[in-house]
């Protein structure tokens, strides 16, 4: 036991020695910045976490930095109740409460991410499979052009077209706006399909499998890891997004919009800092736990310039 401890200590000592003796100022500067970045980030989260359990008047005001004198779990329960979005509809006003916000968030993030990733994956497969076809070449080039060409301020026009198509302010309308193939994910899928050995699909085709059979039974399971990784990344991005729903789905707010509105509200019961931060934690903690579980998959599966399985 002592031997193992000594070995691990020696390893750490060697690592530190290796870092600071065989290198120069560049690494020392980088290490200082990284350490500062991480310390500030972790301290901010720690401060937010402990603050969310404090009593606003008797504790937080006099004890801003210390641990709570009494851990007040009721802040979370009160914030749960207070997170709501005021919606003006049909001449009246109603409030979207927590369950509705959560449901919208799930529909918005799971549905949106699924539609987006399927659109990109399916189109990339067609472009990679029929790579000799001129149309495929056009689609690939079009995607590259849209990535290079910065187009600013198409929001008003999008709103006008969505209104004209009667899909403005609907969940289905939001899903439709996600059903495109443009962006980096398309290139990642395309690279994955291009690298994939054709022997499997050709053997299946010889056995009489249809195009759909080849894709869904053979190819999709082979790139399942990449599909899941991109889906998870998009899911988190949409879950956290509070600005898009404010513009395109004002009467279907998700939880992120609810927390944003809550942080800006001045309701007496939850006006204090601990309540506001508890509200943020309600949005943050599920993603934090999700990150702790999936960070290996999220970080290792996507290798730049392509994807590794």
């Amino acid at each position: 036991m002592v031997m193992i401890k000594n070995n691990s200590r020696r390893k750490i000592r060697d690592r530190i020695k290796h870092t600071f003796t065989t290198t120069n100022v560049l690494f020392i500067v980088a290490f200082v910045f990284l350490a500062l970045f991480v310390s500030l980030f972790l301290y901010l989260l720690y401060w937010g976490f402990i603050t969310s359990f404090k009593d606003n008047y008797s504790d937080f005001v006099r004890n801003v930095l210390g641990l709570p004198k009494k851990w007040k779990l009721s802040n979370y329960a009160e914030s749960f109740k207070a997170i709501k979005v005021r919606i003006a509809s049909g001449g009246g006003v109603r409030y979207a409460l927590f369950p509705e916000l959560l449901l919208n968030s799930v529909l918005y993030s799971v549905g949106g991410a699924l539609v987006l990733v399927c659109s990109e994956c399916f189109t990339a497969y067609c472009v990679a499979k029929f790579d000799k076809c001129k149309f495929s070449k056009i689609l690939y080039a079009f995607n590259i052009v849209t990535m290079i060409l910065p187009i600013v301020g198409s929001g008003p026009s999008t709103l006008q077209i969505m209104r004209a198509l009667h899909i403005y302010d609907t969940i289905i309308g939001f899903w439709i706006t996600k059903a495109h193939f443009m962006g980096l994910n398309f290139l990642l899928f395309h690279a994955a399909f291009t690298k994939l050995a054709k022997e499997y699909s050709e053997a299946a085709e010889l056995d009489g499998a249809s195009n759909f059979g080849v894709f869904f039974r053979i190819v999709l399971p082979l790139i399942g890891g990449i599909f899941l990784t991109i889906f998870l990344i998009e899911f988190v991005a949409i879950w956290n997004d509070y600005q898009t729903p404010l513009v395109y789905m004002p009467t279907h707010p998700p939880l992120s919009t609810g927390v944003f509105e809550f942080s800006r509200s001045s309701s007496n019961a939850t006006v204090g800092t601990p309540h506001k931060i508890a509200g943020c934690m309600i949005l943050f903690l599920p993603i934090f736990i999700f990150f702790l579980i999936f960070h290996g998959r999220l970080m290792n599966n996507l290798s730049m310039g392509g994807i590794k399985e």
Partner: protein, 306 residues
Amino acid sequence: MDTIGKIKEKPFFTRRKLRNALFYAVMAGIPIIQVCIFYIGVNLNSVLLAFRKYDFAADGYKWNGLNNFRQFFASFSTYSYMRSALKNSFIVFFATILVSFSGGIIMSFYIYKQRFLGKFFRVMLFMPSMVSSMVLVIIFSYFADSAIPVITHYATPGLLANSDTTFITMLLFTLWLGFGSGMLVYTGTMNGISESLVEAAELDGCGVFREFIHVTLPSIYSTIVVFFVGQMSVFFSNQMNVFAFYGGDADYKLYTFGYWLYVSVQRASPADYPYLASVGIIFTLILAPIVLVVRKLLLKFGPSAD
């Protein structure tokens, strides 16, 4: 009878081709239609909208010539927030390039070389891109105004509450969050550098700094160009988290073009669409050629991985 003796031509639409075309249409049809409507259609409509104005009497749009464009350029002399937006957008862009962008590459190099705590730093740098920026902004804003004065024994007031330090605090916070944005891509590309190349450099007596300058940077140059061009592309849409900090009520001094455009679209009625569309056209006409030329020049005159 005429075809006797001639080679039988293959029909243009074989059953296989038809099957493939059907598969293509089913799999990629919806995304292609979507892009036709929501990218090509939206942008064409944006151009048309930019030359119109809303006629309340007729409840529709009518031709307005170049007036929307004139109105935008005139707004710089009329509204101080437009001048602030211009100045702040430049500050955010250059600060991001100098600090987050350059710092991100050096930190990625540290992680790539697997130095002390490299793996831990890798996870921690990636984490902010997973956490909602709005959540971090809210916690930070309370921290800056409640905890910082206590830490400094009330030598400084709240960093955001004090109007002299509000902008720089928000800028530093945005730069701080941006450090890790390209880390995964940079480290991934650096990992692709041939080990024999690195070993050869080491045998030639190349130190860490020279390896970074002469081996690593040229090898990941195309990735650096992609990120640089990406930063340029968001010049007019970078909000610097102003909306997350202040919602729609930010002080005019804190405006960036991205924030102003977002708040304007969020509050817009159909009568405002033409003016905002014209602003989008102006921004695109300024940005697109610059981005394309800079990208071409950087790729042409930059170092080669060879």
